[in-house]
């Protein structure tokens, strides 16, 4: 048989022996994978993982798996960041230790991973875990769709990881601007990996977002009006709506680019009627709302954490809801500010500059609302609160530099410079990542029944915050000096000291990440002393704290009836936080199914086969995806019943824990 027919473009040359560093990275991935598989086998954990996790459709377990995926990808993306900081700290007047091609793959995978495979799964994980609990719901609207969303995202992430071992990754940056990413300038499979990873993960995200919208509209606890929803649910709703409306921009841009590359079309090529600026428009019609998809749920986390640790109600709930909705709508009106420098006339640029400045208003209002929430509170400084405070102080700096970039004549100077890089890291690290870390620390005791270690959490916090300032403030300075993004090397001696400071900052962040790993290990080791099933670890105000920690599979034995904001806080104030019914009803929960996992595996195969032009495999994968969809639609036994006796036992155990806690307190 013709090897081309069998293997497409895939040959042994695809193995990463082009540089020892790339080969080392690939070996790390392969050995790491082998070690994980070996460890699971040694622990005989395969059955447990399969039945309890991989085939689960429980929103809580899916949420946890999303976060695990995000944390693994955070490590990968951060290694990329360290490599870049090391390269630029060295490469003054010399070529550094990375070739341009390798350096370009590193910055492309760093951006792609941090946005699509760290940020998105992290926040979808937290949304998955928290939203149904806060709504007083037993699950999301479509549990299987939820699982498919997770496994499609994981398939996209797996493609990015696979590119490290087999073939190369894109060198076109996370934005993948053509014509550079067209076949004539990027003939390798790197861009194909990038396109397929984004298309597959984007499909998963769209499905999850639809799921959240329906869940929030249809599954709220009896009596809970939209304006009685916790603010985090509002931000989850806005982010999901944004995802549904914005992601088609990326899908179309990526799809058309794929048509150019696979079928010789000319949407974005330099010849044949292509126009690169069409790509730029499509990409940023997605790309700007994407920023708010990432940041709004983090705003929701801060709006949950700050009142809890101020021991006070959230200030200006209505205003925060309206501000969030304003931001969501306005985010679709500003995309052109990403390319003021394309030569549009002054009226166009001024319009988009003005629209961008408008977004600063609701954002500024939110900051003041958070400060007013703390005003006349009783502030406790546990790690979730520390992340929130660092966020407020750091985020306003990023907001200022954002307004600077929104003024077209200033953007003409700062566009493509390290000032821009410093700006968006200044938004996304405090705005998104600190929010996700705050949410991770805040809801960890809910999810596992024991808290994270505070001492190591504080160490991680300080290393991260100091590292952030050291890593990114020098980039602002370099931007003023005219240093641009994506340089493999440079020849301006006065820049080097700033790059070295930035590299030291990255090392501080490394210590922060190491502290977080130690924190996790220490917390797990001490769990026997710290575990508490009773549930309300922080003195929370919203319904997720009215269940046990961890919550039972069915979340609520009796659905709460809600007539106010902060329902759990109000119930506690009235002295009736928990209602114990005389008898329990049996409950219906979704059965486990392997459909989600198989969907993800087939999507990975489809992506991999398409990247390497292995058309028979791509065809099989498509037949498999269609086949499993049809087969699943004939399945009738998709739920199972938890008997009332089992529920009564679970609830009794929880009640005893609460009584024991009250006994301790007295």
């Amino acid at each position: 048989m013709n090897p081309d027919l069998l293997f497409g473009k895939l040959t042994l040359d695809a193995l990463p022996f082009y540089s020892p560093i790339a080969a080392g990275g690939a070996a790390t991935i392969v050995l790491g994978g082998v070690a994980v598989v070996g460890l699971i086998t040694w622990l005989k954990a395969w059955t447990y993982l399969w039945t309890e996790w991989f085939t689960s459709t429980d929103h809580k377990k899916l949420g946890i798996m999303y976060v695990i995926l995000a944390l693994v990808m955070l490590l990968r993306g951060f290694v990329d960041a360290l490599m870049m900081r090391a390269q630029q700290a060295i490469a003054m007047g010399n070529e550094g230790y990375l070739t341009p091609d390798h350096f370009q793959q590193v910055f492309s995978s760093h951006g792609t991973i941090m946005i699509f495979f760290m940020g998105m799964p992290f926040l979808f994980g937290i949304m998955n875990y928290v939203v149904p609990l806060q709504l007083g719901a037993r699950d999301v609207a479509f549990p299987l769709l939820n699982a498919i969303g997770l496994w499609l995202t994981a398939a996209g992430a797996a493609l990015v990881m696979a590119s490290l071992v087999i073939g190369v990754f894109s060198t076109g940056g996370w934005t993948g601007y053509p014509p550079y990413t067209e076949l004539s300038y990027s003939p390798t499979v790197g861009v194909d990996y990038w396109i397929m990873a984004l298309l597959i993960a984007g499909t998963g995200t769209t499905l999850s977002a639809i799921n959240f919208i329906v869940t929030i509209y249809k599954m709220r606890a009896p009596g809970m009006g939209l304006m009685q929803m916790p603010l985090f649910c509002w931000t989850a709703l806005c982010a999901s709506l944004l995802a549904v409306f914005a992601l088609p921009g990326l899908t179309v841009a990526g799809g058309l680019l794929a048509l150019d590359r696979y079928l010789g079309m000319h949407f974005f090529t330099n010849d044949g009627g292509g126009n690169v600026m069409n790509y730029a428009n499509l990409f940023w019609i997605f790309g700007h709302p994407e920023v708010y998809i990432l940041i709004l749920p983090a705003f929701g986390v801060f709006s949950t954490v700050i009142p809890t640790f101020s021991q006070k109600r959230l200030f200006g709930y209505n205003v925060l809801v309206y501000a969030t909705m304003c931001i969501a709508v306005l985010s679709f009106t500003v995309w052109l500010h990403h390319f003021f420098t394309m030569g549009a006339d002054a009226n166009v640029n001024a319009f988009f500059g003005i629209m961008t400045a408008v977004i600063a208003v609701p954002t500024g209002v939110k900051v003041y609302d958070w400060i007013l929430t703390m005003y006349r509170g009783r502030l406790r400084f546990d790690t979730p609160m520390l992340w929130s405070i660092a966020f407020i102080l750091t985020f306003v700096i990023g907001g200022m530099t954002g307004v600077i970039l929104s003024i077209p004549p200033l953007d003409y100077v700062f566009h493509n410079t390290l000032f821009l890089i410093a700006h968006f890291h200044n938004m996304l690290i405090p705005g998104m990542l600190f929010g996700l870390f705050a949410g991770y620390a805040y809801w960890f005791p809910k999810a596992f029944g024991f808290p994270l270690d505070e001492t190591w959490g504080r160490r991680a916090f300080w290393f991260w915050v100091v590292g952030f300032y050291l890593a990114f403030m020098p980039l602002y300075v370099l931007g003023f000096m005219g240093a641009v993004r994506r340089m493999t090397y440079y020849d301006q001696p006065e820049w080097q000291v700033y790059f070295i400071i930035a590299a030291i900052g990255a090392l501080s962040v490394l210590l922060g990440i190491v502290s977080q790993i130690i924190q996790l290990v220490v917390s797990i080791r001490n769990r026997a002393q710290t575990a508490n099933l009773a549930g309300d670890h922080w003195g929370g105000q919203t319904l997720e704290w009215s269940t046990s920690s961890p919550p039972p599979e069915y979340n609520f034995a009796v659905l709460p009836t809600v007539c106010t904001l902060d329902a759990f806080q109000v119930a506690k104030d009235m002295g009736t936080p928990h209602l114990w019914p005389e008898r329990y009803e049996p409950l219906e929960v979704p059965r486990n199914t392997m459909v989600g996992l198989v969907f993800g595996a087939l999507a990975f195969l489809l992506g991999f086969a398409t990247v390497w032009h292995i058309w028979w495999l791509a065809g099989l994968a498509i037949i498999g995806i269609v086949g499993i969809t049809i087969a699943r639609s004939f399945a009738t036994e998709t739920t199972r019943i938890i008997p009332a006796s089992e529920i009564a036992l679970t609830e009794l155990r929880w009640k005893q824990a609460i009584l024991a806690q009250q006994g301790d307190a007295q």
């Binding site: 109600r313 420098t341 005003y375 003024i407 077209p408």
Partner: protein, 272 residues
């Protein structure tokens, strides 16, 4: 440390941009500075265990809410006027007022070099842009490769160079000097070294540059351009004594979105 940057402007465009920078930062500090002061005050005053006032149910106040909307709105409305006026005043397409006619240079982005054609003088230079100080400079841009962006920070902002399209950048140097210029838009392996010297010289210096170019004896014809446009990293400075007529538009037409159309008249121009 900020030599020949926005903070050390070498021309009226960059000087006006610097003023705009400080104006906008000053305006924003009206909203941002109180945030730092308030956060510091609130964190200290209301930390647990001090016995300070505690109002757990205080969750809204019409007067305060109007106030926190009002201040950012006022600032942003002020910003609108600044954005509208300065975006028009500093439009890169706007010719710079001067008693002298602008010097027109046609810049072509290559992999990974810059070609500068002087159409009126019929000479060309590679990786070196020489122009008279005090006289407006009009740069017309296109690309023979992927998207590029031409920037000379000492003089002002940047504009994209795109294949098949013509964009424009107007600058002026009011003190002589050699300034860094570069492509700021990632374009591939040679991107990091895609820099050029932007030399603002007096009139006699410019004349001697032209004479030097004319004495070089190299002609930039179709074959010469073919050689020049092969990918080159950190290429040398070159001078050409003559340039094929309308070479800039020939390059644009080679990437024209509608080959049957005349190049310059249609899609090539952006907004006037």
């Amino acid at each position: 440390m900020f030599k020949d940057s926005l903070f050390d402007p070498a021309g009226p465009v960059s000087a006006a941009t610097r003023d705009l920078f400080f104006d906008s930062v000053g305006l924003m500090l009206i909203v941002v500075a109180p945030v730092f002061l308030l956060v510091g005050f609130v964190l200290w005053r209301y930390r647990a265990g001090t016995g300070a006032a505690y109002k757990p149910h205080w969750a809204g106040s019409r007067a305060v809410e109007i106030g926190i909307w009002f201040m950012p709105v006022v600032i942003v409305v002020a910003l609108w006027f600044i954005v509208w006026n300065r975006t028009h005043a500093l439009d890169p397409y706007k010719p710079i007022a001067s008693g002298l006619p602008p010097l027109v240079v046609q810049a072509v982005a290559l992999d990974w070099q810059w070609l500068f054609i002087y159409p009126d003088e019929n000479v060309a230079a590679v990786n070196r842009l020489v122009f008279p100080v005090g006289r407006p400079l009009t740069i017309e841009l296109t690309s023979d490769t992927v998207m590029n962006s031409l920037s000379i920070p000492a003089l002002g902002g940047q504009i994209y160079a795109m294949a098949g399209m013509e964009t424009q950048l107007n600058l002026l140097a009011d003190r002589p000097g050699v300034y860094d210029g570069r492509n700021t838009m990632f374009s591939g392996d040679g991107f990091s070294a895609q820099t050029f010297a932007a030399e603002a010289v007096d009139v006699s210096g410019f004349q001697s540059f032209l004479a030097q170019a004319r004495a070089s004896g190299d002609a930039l014809d179709a074959a010469g351009f073919e050689t020049l446009s092969t990918p080159t990293i950190a290429g040398p400075v070159r001078l050409y004594s003559t340039v094929e007529p309308k070479l800039f538009h020939t390059i644009m037409a080679a990437h024209g979105s509608m080959p049957e159309m005349a190049p310059a008249a249609n899609h090539a121009e952006h907004a006037p």
